[in-house]
Amino acid sequence: MPVIICPACDLVHRAAAEQPQRTRCVRCRAILQRAVGGSIDSAIALAATALILFVFSNLYPLVAMNFNGTTRAATLLDTTLGFYRQGHPTLAVIVFTTIILGPLLQITTLLYLLLPMRSGHQAPAAGSVFRFLTHVRPWSLVEVFMLGTVVALVRVAKYAQVLPGVALWSYALLMLALAALTHRTSAEQFWRWAERRPA
């Protein structure tokens, strides 16, 4: 008899449907199973979109500020460089990891895993790489940075004119693309793709 164990309270449930729907634990109400059934192609398309948005977010300025005729623009990388230059390398590393490296690793590991899978192959060390991805995900804080940007702009708007840059919009879209991508590549979904027989 196939069983499912609740990740949050260890209660054993009988596995019912062949195509899992979103179910919750009867005891602690944690999510037991997530719905699966998306296509690999749409996940790859989302990851590719996210990669393009990531490149735009890094190439163009995030915001520019006009202060009595002096204009100053800041890119995504400038936020971590600013901390580094002021003698706070630890803070620079924390910000760099959570807003640049984290999202990039999320996108690239998924492309590495999904592209070979599309033609029925498994990328070398796929299991470990996917495991790595689940460790990276909690440290990618794109949506928090977006809100932090809003806070910073509200603070500075008193003194200076603020001009949103291309990267602000592309980073906001990257936030949405990553959320959709995470939703479509749950562990359940990933392993269902990985273990399916090539057609």
């Binding site: 069983v3 499912i4 164990i5 990740p7 949050a8 309270c9 260890d10 209660l11 054993v12 005891r27 602690c28 109400r29 944690a30 995030l62 915001v63 500020m65 202060f67 009595n68 002096t70 100053r72 800041a74 400038d78 936020t79 971590t80 460089l81 600013g82 901390f83 002021q86 706070h88 630890t90 803070l91 924390i94 910000v95 959570t98 807003i99 299991g127 470990s128 996917f130 495991r131 689940t134 909690p138 804080l141 928090v144 940075f145 809100l147 932090g148 940007t149 809003v150 806070v151 910073a152 702009l153 509200v154 603070r155 500075v156 008193k158 003194y159 562990a187 359940e188 990933f190 392993w191």
Partner: protein, 204 residues
Amino acid sequence: MSTALTGQQLGLLYCQQCHSTVRGGRVAYPRCPRCHAHLHSRKPHSLVLTAVLVACAAVLYIPANILPVMNTRSLIDDERDTIMSGVLVLLQSGSWPIAVVVFVASIVVPLLKILALAVLIYSSWRGSSRHRLQRSELFRLVEFIGRWSMLDVYAVSLLVALVQIRSLAFISVGWGALAFSAVVILTTVAARTFDERLLWDESK
């Protein structure tokens, strides 16, 4: 619930990484056959590790709130802003919705995380069977909202990058920001070392 069985009672292991169910054998250190993650019936040393991390976070919470996170030097004045005074500045400038968001994310959430984890550690250490569902939901809330605390550090990072006109206005980061990020990171790691299944284990 007396007839309900747990994975531990049946000798079944749950892989936290790939969500598969594995029959535990007689191997000393079982690994997931699918993704090769180390498998544990319960996370090893969960309570001790989480308690140490939460204690460190609680100590650092003090400098995180006392030390300035941001220094503003301009022609007219020289300001040192802590997290709380930053919230007050936002409030005075009339943007109270943003002030509320920053207050909740930077002051309430870290404190809630530290207190909630302390309560959860203590109650699972005692093997308490009261309010299990509520404690389980409290843990999920802590896990979900924790990430938003980095908000203020990101706001400062952008201000530092933007306001660098030496003659007119200059913003620099303070040590409070480092202590504050340390609190966020420590509590996030603590939420991951805590094994929520301990909340449901019957004490022997």
